[in-house]
Amino acid sequence: MTVTVTWYLVLAAALFSMGAAGVLIRRNALIMFMSIELMLNSVNLTFVAVSKHLGLIEGQVAALFVMVIAAAEVTVGLAIIVAIFRFRSSANVDELSELRG
């Protein structure tokens, strides 16, 4: 049994879905955030797999870019989360619903 590119793609899709599900299901801001990171990484997996399969370098470069961006996002994201939840006992996002309607 050879591991074809399809496997990678399916795995990535599964990871992506798991990440998305995490965002939807979890209440903790940090974990939601991590789920998003998971989604980004699953995309990276796709990039790299496809890149390898097609013998192109673009995908791998793209993955690098994505990693950088994810890092930036983490920085800012964590800062925001900290700013919000500094004065709160929990990191439950459901409590953040003052703006609505």
Partner: protein, 501 residues
């Protein structure tokens, strides 16, 4: 490299230099806005000027693709494109950015020492936004998108002590990241299906379609759909709009105009770039979806705006509806680009102007602006009241205001090209009918705003005079709203050439 070769990236360079300069000046000369403010203004103006130069270059010498880093195989694909779309976008972004910056001037004063940071974030975001429309490479588009988005997450939460601002920021960040991830996955899937990340140039997606007959389009279609989701989210098209009202309401009023306006410009330009130009061969597949998004946006935006009591939310929902009208133009495929440009470029000024007025009424650092704040505005400050009236009339699509021509242009475009689904020669006529009906329903809340502004104020006190830059921003917005309503043809002729190659 020769001097002229910088031109394709001049816009970004100017802004980046400007951002650095602001921070440097603040460090060197002091954090008072008088010192670094001019530098920021200069950067915005310079960016607009860069756009003008690009435009001139494009119209005399023609558009072109540009390869930057050379030597690696990666560089077979172009990274920068300078064409009508990007040049016109640069002008609009530069001007809107400049006006938006002026509108935020009072906010800058409020945040005190942190002013330079705020402004440099704005400068950076603008650079990112232009990257989205000035590249044929999907990853670079994502890069630009994230550059802008991350800046905006921070701007939205800039007043971190305010509960609204913080919540707004968090929501924007979380949902924005989700949408970005979706977009990125779309890019990846497209890459998987076509083997290319470039829209055109050598070995591009366009080439792929011209040389290959796609038999199993599943992955490609999913990729397209996800990219569309990402962009729809950014331009706040329903059903991906839900962040917009919350974010706009929570974010500091002085900066909302900038955020809301510029992101729409870039979002629609990117849509034109990716779908209009890149995926032009798939046009029959994606226009129906765009039509559905347009329809849902118009209805949801309008109906929800009807029942709002907060002006910021009202304008946010109205923005959703406007996204629908603009998407209506894009249902014509790449032929919709001129109408899209006309709409976006005029609407952007209305948004900036509208929020600028709100910031003078309720304070540039306010997060909620109940409708009652506008009560008797015309009496309390005739200048702001009348200008806001013009802006709101412009948004409502009243004739002799730019919004009207924009709508007509958009609707005309949508009916001028035969539609694939449901297949007929009259384009998306149903969408146009829905559009005009929704425009009427929308009048209910636009006129409610106007009626409130003209009613007798509870508070007889004159409104505190806003700062000159803010007033200037409002005046410019209103003048553009009126001018392109009465004399729309220069802009119409200009947007004809604002095509992607």
């Amino acid at each position: 490299m020769q001097g002229g070769a910088w031109l394709p990236i001049a816009f970004e360079v100017v802004l980046l230099v400007g951002a650095l300069a602001v921070l440097l000046v603040a460090v060197v000369a002091g954090r008072d806005r008088r010192f670094w403010g001019p530098a920021a203004g200069l950067a915005f103006a310079g960016a607009a000027l860069a756009g003008v130069l690009q435009w001139r270059e494009v119209s005399t010498s023609g558009a072109g693709l540009f390869f930057t880093a050379q030597g690696v195989s990666f560089a077979k694909s172009p990274m920068v494109v300078m064409d009508g779309l990007s040049a016109f976008g640069a002008i609009v972004l530069g001007l809107v950015g400049f006006v938006g910056f002026l509108a935020a001037w009072d906010l800058v004063a409020k945040v005190g020492r942190r002013g330079p940071e705020l402004v440099s974030l704005l400068l950076l975001s603008l650079a990112g936004l232009h990257m989205m429309m000035a590249t044929p490479n999907l990853v670079v588009i994502f890069l630009g998108l994230e550059t802008a988005s991350i800046s905006f997450y921070v701007v939205a939460g800039f007043l971190r002590r305010q509960k609204g601002s913080a919540e707004s920021s968090f929501k924007y960040f979380l949902l924005g990241s989700l949408a970005s991830a979706l977009f990125l996955y779309g890019v990846a899937l497209t890459f998987a299906a076509t083997g290319s990340l470039t829209l055109y140039g050598g070995n591009s997606i366009r080439d792929f379609f011209s040389s290959t007959i796609v038999t199993q389009p599943g992955i490609l279609l999913a990729g397209m759909a996800l990219m569309l989701v990402g962009i729809a989210f950014k331009v706040s098209a329903a059903p991906f709009h839900q962040w917009a009202p919350d974010v706009y309401q929570g974010a500091p009023t002085g900066a909302v105009g900038f955020m809301a306006a510029t992101v729409k410009i870039a979002g629609f330009a990117a849509l034109a770039r990716i779908f209009g130009a890149g995926l032009v061969s798939q046009v029959d597949t994606w226009t129906p979806i765009v039509a559905v998004l347009a329809a849902v946006s118009m209805v949801v935006g309008t109906v929800l705006a009807l029942v709002q009591s907060d002006v910021k939310r009202m304008l946010a929902y109205s923005g959703v509806a406007h996204a629908g009208y603009i998407l209506t133009a894009m249902t014509a495929g790449v032929a919709g680009v001129p109408a899209m440009w006309f709409y976006v470029s005029t609407y952007a000024f209305m948004v900036v102007g509208g929020f600028a007025v709100l910031s003078t009424v309720s304070g540039s650092d306010s997060s909620k602006v109940p409708l009652d704040d506008l009560k008797g505005l015309v009496k309390r400050s005739p200048e702001m009241g009348w200008l806001m009236t013009f802006v709101v009339l412009g948004m409502s699509g009243m004739p002799f205001f730019a919004g009207f021509v924009a709508k007509v242009f958009s609707f005309v475009t949508a009916t001028a090209v035969p539609a694939p689904w449901p297949a007929n020669d009259h384009g998306y006529l149903w969408l146009v009918v829905l559009g005009v009906v929704m425009s009427v329903v929308g009048l209910a809340f636009y006129f409610r705003i106007i009626g409130t502004m003209f009613s007798t104020p509870d508070d007889q006190a004159e409104l505190q005079e806003a700062g000159l830059p803010v007033r200037f921003a409002v005046i410019v917005s209103a003048v553009i709203t009126v001018a392109f309503g009465i004399v729309p043809w220069p802009l119409i002729e200009a947007v004809r050439d604002a095509f992607p190659i």
